[in-house]
Symmetry: C2
Subunit: 126 residues, 2 copies
């Protein structure tokens, strides 16, 4: 099931809601309920192979080689595509800030909403 869910997510580079994944998988198997999908997603996220975009309530397959990093997502509000980046500077600076108050970070959520280069140039084709 995890493999099926991951395959569906990988066929898109835009995020999908859990119910979109569900609908997509129901094409072949009508007896499929939300908990099945949410369980698979939870396991995939645990393993770092899928990320949840908190601000979109949606999920994407991880595009990085190595999992276990801190992902930084750029989310285009026009076309919905998502880029995944990594920055040690950001991770370090967040640790530094947390350290000032003795906070022990366990999980980071970094999401940037905006407009990708492609959509920007379409909108204002100078």
């Amino acid at each position: 099931m995890q493999a099926d869910v991951l395959a569906v997510l990988r066929r898109r580079d835009a995020p999908m809601s859990a119910y979109e994944v569900l609908d997509r998988l129901r094409d072949g198997n009508s007896r499929l309920a939300p908990p099945t999908i949410y369980r698979a997603l939870a396991a995939l996220i645990e393993g770092g192979r899928v990320h949840r975009l908190e601000s979109l309530k949606a999920f994407v397959a991880c595009k990085c080689e190595q999992h276990g990093h801190v992902p930084i997502f750029s989310i285009c509000k026009e076309c919905g595509t998502v880029e995944e980046a990594v920055s040690r500077r950001i991770t370090n600076e967040l640790s530094r800030i947390a350290g000032q108050s003795g906070f022990a970070p366990a999980r980071h959520v970094i999401e940037v909403h905006g407009q990708c280069a492609r959509c920007e140039s379409k909108e204002a084709p100078a």
Copy 2:
């Protein structure tokens, strides 16, 4: 209504769900429905006086003097308290990363989950 919602949020330093706010306000006024609360929250967020914690689906009053900054939240998974920080370095670095791919940032979501100093010392009182 915005004032009422803001007052409720300010009485706590932990995040509240929209429905917690609703219940709290219903104490005095039983005829109050979700859209009313969500509208007030939307306006407050627009004005920078309230933030939505995306990863918690919850809301907090902004604690900063000046609104319009990029807030960085530290969320304690034990006690639920939230600290709000600002870092120009992070903002700059995020802009730099975005710039590399021509992405135009409009809104930032930065949330760090972990354990606050207080809860850490309680748990392992060395």
